[in-house]
């Protein structure tokens, strides 16, 4: 019920959680943001103490009092230690590699201990997807948390709210805090497999008139360039010599393949078209050819390699999205 209320009134949630999302840069968990309540085990511990106290009074056991009070003091110290386990922890995010819709985005969180003491058993949980991980942050060090968040649809996927929780050292108290770092992951459209369109040699580029031959016509080896796809590296040849060599296919340099929005059947919806195009980009990239992408209002000139692939997929992912 409270959850629904906070959902509807984000400002109330912001006030309650002590920050306004998204938070840029490194987030430090100051006191205001760390909450602490006893756990069920803590309640059981309190009950134990009560029984010990009554027993000590009844039998006038001085050492019984001493034990009861020592345990009470330990509960108190445990509460402070639990709060300390999260106090002033610094949370920053790393780069999340783009994924295709339907896959899970891998968000990286870095938990910086910012102190000489260990911070064991900290749970990081993505509130939306319930993806979670328990890490020990070493004293003076940084722990990495990878949260796999399902990417449902193309576009930018923001990380949104993450809960950090700990019950260390005694499990009697539960301290937690929410962060909402400014991290996002690019989600490409879900690729749809289909045959590549025929590569038509453009009049502008001149030369060939006929469709290019099959893309698996092996033509020879050439020196590796940084932009070459690892799929085309001649690994067997590399194993024999020290030089990186790339396999060349006939027609690769000559023919230009345009992956054009307009080539798709007219009845196809926007998302289907984008999926189809994404599938084409992958297929074209696999073939090692030069290719270009044309979307309404967007044109990416022919090229090949990982950079071209990334640029095309990003254009597809963000097509029609507010940037």
């Amino acid at each position: 019920m409270i959850g629904a209320l906070l959902e509807r009134h984000p400002r109330l949630a912001n006030w309650l959680y002590g920050f306004t999302p998204p938070e840029r840069g490194t987030v430090v968990l100051v006191h205001r943001r760390v909450y602490i309540v006893p756990t069920r085990l803590g309640a059981l511990f309190a009950l134990t103490l009560l029984i010990l106290l009554i027993g000590s009074i009844n039998y006038s056991l001085s050492l019984g009092f001493a034990l009861t009070f020592l345990l009470a003091g330990m509960g108190l110290a445990g509460m402070v230690h639990t709060a300390r386990n999260l106090a002033r922890l610094a949370v920053s995010t790393g780069r999340a590699e783009p994924v295709f819709a339907g896959e899970a985005a891998q968000f990286r969180l870095y938990l910086d201990a910012r102190g000489a003491f260990d911070r064991p058993a900290i749970l990081a949980r993505h509130v939306g997807s319930r993806s979670q991980l328990v890490v020990d942050v070493p004293g003076g060090g940084i722990a990495e948390v990878v949260l796999a968040v399902p990417a449902e649809r193309r576009g930018w996927l923001p990380l949104r709210r993450v809960m950090l929780e700990t019950r260390f050292p005694l499990g009697l108290f539960r301290a937690w805090s929410y962060v909402e770092p400014d991290a996002r992951c690019l989600v490409y459209p879900r690729p749809e497999r289909s045959a590549l369109p025929p590569a038509i040699a453009e009049s502008a580029s001149g030369g060939l008139r006929s469709p290019v031959p099959g893309n698996d016509d092996y033509a020879g080896l050439r020196a590796y360039q940084l932009s070459d796809s690892p799929r085309h590296v001649a690994w067997k040849a590399v194993a024999r010599s020290d030089d990186m060599l790339t396999k060349q296919f006939s027609g690769e340099a000559a023919a230009e393949l345009w992956l054009d929005w307009a080539l798709l059947p007219a009845g196809l919806g926007r998302e289907r078209r984008l999926s189809r195009l994404a599938g084409w980009v992958l297929a074209a990239d696999r073939s090692g050819r030069n290719y270009g992408l044309r979307l309404p209002g967007v044109e990416i000139g022919p090229a090949r390699g990982d950079r071209q692939r990334g640029a095309c997929l990003q254009a597809l992912a963000l097509y029609g999205e507010p940037s």
């Binding site: 430090v28 756990t39 085990l41 059981l44 511990f45 134990t48 029984i51 010990l52 009554i54 027993g55 000590s56 009074i57 009844n58 039998y59 006038s60 056991l61 001085s62 050492l63 019984g64 009092f65 001493a66 034990l67 009861t68 009070f69 020592l70 345990l71 009470a72 003091g73 330990m74 108190l76 110290a77 445990g78 402070v80 230690h81 709060a83 300390r84 106090a87 002033r88 910012r114 102190g115 000489a116 003491f117 260990d118 064991p120 058993a121 749970l123 319930r130 979670q132 328990v134 020990d136 929780e165 700990t166 019950r167 260390f168 050292p169 005694l170 499990g171 539960r174």
Partner: protein
């Protein structure tokens, strides 16, 4: 759907390491009980612990709930057969011990294990029902530490065990100040809150209300401490150390028993040889308090009977401390009521004819009671009696048999026979039991009186002098007073280890130890409502009621928690001031539309910003170069940091 919470103890299974810690902790806290328990119960509990370990080590399945239940029922039946009750103190403790094994056996998750660990706390506190000495406290402190380390291990399963043990030690160290504050200021209530089980106080040793040949000599074989007395100045000489306990009037031929005559208004005796001292009395589950003869005051919550016994308002069931004044050389007071003198002459008919005959001879041959007394003492001195802890069994005419046949006995035989002879000779007499002597500790001038100092003597009523103490044992065995029990007994007699005279160095060690134990008793174990009140008053509190105490307690706890919080944040680095100033600088530039790109270093960024905002070019470049020098330079200076902060604060972009 509720997702499995990886930190919730209900979901996490116990690992082999967790189990090892838990079992070890339970073994520590169960060990003292195991020594007291019947052998089959100790064996069963150990088997349950072992079974659980076996299951984890061999990946065997845990026994089913039904099997565990069957064990529980079998254990219950066994305890019932052993003690004929399930709700007594002893049987309750035994059941708790059994349950620790059963709970361990069925523990799968961390939650079960935590419950078993909490059971360990109960086992610790029940140990204190039997013993609250320093060694017990130390052993149980080890138990608390082990349980704490176990709990820490549950909440950090991936962390190394030594690190978890260190955390447990830090936790306990942090708990200590709060525990001390609670111990001192938590308003104490006098127990018990409800009726105790009938066997709650068994096992306490001490004098009994009656005296039968054999029961004192049995008590004298115990090393247990009866009480300790701390004298304000010198302690009285050994021969003066008669600690008065129950006074016995009636004799049935075998057993002496007390008379209940009610209390009389107490009139302190006058005389010389006053001693002021405080007594820490061990619980003995009877009402009397011991004081040096003759008591010149009555402690609080106590009264004095007409025959000089001090009775507390209730049985002494916990260690108590009281202050006393005694007069060792009181003036004569011959004011006993005739009915009591008459009672002090009564004898059972027809027993011990030879003793009666002897007494009749003394009576006819003497002119006064004092002369009878002298003859009797002479008879004992010449009688070549032997002093022994193992007196032979006596028949129906116990006095005759001791005086004329066996001639071996302990103080109760001497006191009993002497009092009989006096009565038979027409001199009013009664038996007094208590303690005689005690050992003066060289370390702190505290006199320790043990059960082995239990003694019995007589008092005779002489006209004009009143009740006079006569110690027939001392008459027969003069060394008893000077050297205590060990001096009076033959060297090869069975004696408690600590009482042997030939171990000087051991006695030295023991003196130090006793001094420590006394302080422990006074400051830790006897801390009660009264001492709490006097502490509050000495702290300047006007009234020491529970409201004041609670307020003090919460103040102290609040301050301690804040101190702990401050400590917890102490070692966390603050944001670097240089970095903070730089971020402020970037923020100011960003507000003017020059946002720093992720890849841009300070040099490139400031150069770009200077181009974009030519009006502030100089200031921007100056700040950037200062920042670079401070952040990446070899020797950052405080003054430089200050200058950077000032520059950034004052920066106003044109």
């Amino acid at each position: 759907m509720k997702l499995a919470h990886p930190l919730s103890p209900e979901r996490r299974l116990m690992s082999a390491r967790d189990l090892a810690w838990l079992t070890a902790s339970l073994a520590i806290v169960t060990a003292p009980h195991a020594l007291r328990a019947p052998w089959w119960l100790t064996g069963l509990t150990l088997c349950l612990y072992g079974w659980r370990l076996y299951c984890t080590l061999n990946r065997a399945p845990l026994p089913s709930r039904w099997l565990v239940l069957a064990f529980a029922l079998a254990g219950l039946l066994g305890v019932w057969l052993e003690y004929r009750t399930l709700f007594g103190r002893q049987s309750g403790v035994m059941l708790l011990m059994l349950f620790s094994g059963l709970k361990l056996l069925e523990s799968r998750t961390h939650r079960d294990a935590a419950v078993a660990a909490f059971l360990g706390y109960f086992l610790i506190v029940t140990n204190f029902l039997y013993s609250q000495t320093i060694p017990t406290a130390a052993a149980m402190a080890a138990g608390v530490f082990a349980i704490t380390a176990t709990l820490v291990g549950f909440s950090a399963p991936q962390r190394a065990a030594p690190a978890n043990a260190r955390t447990a030690a830090v936790l306990l160290a942090h708990a200590f100040p709060a525990a001390l504050a609670l111990f001192l200021f938590f308003p104490r209530v006098d127990g018990p809150l409800w009726g105790m089980p009938r066997d709650a106080y068994t096992g306490l040793t001490g004098l009994s209300e009656t005296m039968t040949p054999g029961n004192l000599s049995q008590l004298a074989q115990s090393d247990a401490i009866a009480f300790r007395a701390a004298f304000e100045s010198e302690a009285p000489p050994a021969a003066m150390r008669y600690w008065r306990g129950p006074v016995l009037w009636d004799f049935d031929g075998r057993t002496w028993s007390g008379a209940s005559g009610g209390s009389t208004p107490f009139t302190p005796p006058r005389g010389t040889g006053a001693y002021r001292y405080s007594v820490v009395l061990e619980p003995h589950n009877r009402r009397w308090l011991f004081a040096l003869e003759s008591a010149a005051r009555v402690p609080e919550h106590a009264h004095m009977t007409f025959d000089g016994q001090i009775y507390a308002d209730g049985p002494v069931r916990s260690r108590i401390l009281y202050n006393m004044v005694s007069i060792t050389l009181p003036e004569a007071r011959a004011d006993e009521q005739p009915r009591w003198l008459e009672r002090a002459l009564r004898l059972p008919p027809e027993v011990d004819p030879r003793a009666r005959e002897l007494a009749r001879e003394w009576r006819t041959g003497s002119h006064s009671d004092a002369e009878v007394l002298a003859r009797a003492l002479g008879f004992l001195q010449r009688g070549r009696y032997a002093y022994t802890l193992d007196p032979p069994l006596l028949g129906a005419n116990s006095i005759d048999e001791f005086l004329f046949d066996t001639r071996e006995g302990f103080c109760e035989h001497f006191a009993s026979s002497f009092t009989f002879l006096m009565r038979a000779a027409g001199v009013p007499a009664r038996v007094v039991t208590g303690y005689q002597g005690g050992e003066l500790n060289g370390a702190d001038h505290i006199l320790t009186v043990r059960q082995s100092d239990a003694h019995a003597w007589s008092e005779v009523y002489l006209r004009g002098r009143g009740w006079v103490r006569v110690d027939p044992t001392a008459a027969a065995m003069p060394t008893r007073l000077q050297a205590g029990l060990s001096g009076a007994l033959p060297q090869d007699a069975r004696l408690p280890l600590m009482m042997r005279a030939d171990m000087e160095w051991l006695r030295g060690v023991r003196s130090q130890w006793e001094a420590l134990a006394h302080r422990w008793n006074v400051w830790v174990l006897s801390y009660d409502q009264d001492r709490q009140r006097s502490l509050m008053l000495s702290l300047g509190m006007r009234s020491a009621d529970w409201r004041n105490m609670t307020a003090t307690l919460f103040t102290v706890l609040g301050v301690l928690t804040l101190a702990l919080l401050a400590w917890s944040l102490r070692r966390i680095t603050r944001p670097d001031p240089v970095q903070k100033a730089w971020q402020l600088f970037c923020g100011k530039l960003a507000a003017r539309g020059v946002e720093r790109a992720g890849h841009e270093g300070p040099r490139d960024y400031s150069a770009r910003a200077a181009r974009a905002l030519p009006g502030s070019r100089r200031a921007i470049l100056r700040i950037a170069s200062l920042y670079i020098a401070l952040r990446y330079g070899a020797r950052p200076s405080r003054a430089g940091t200050e200058r950077l902060r000032r520059l950034v604060r004052r920066l106003e972009l044109a």
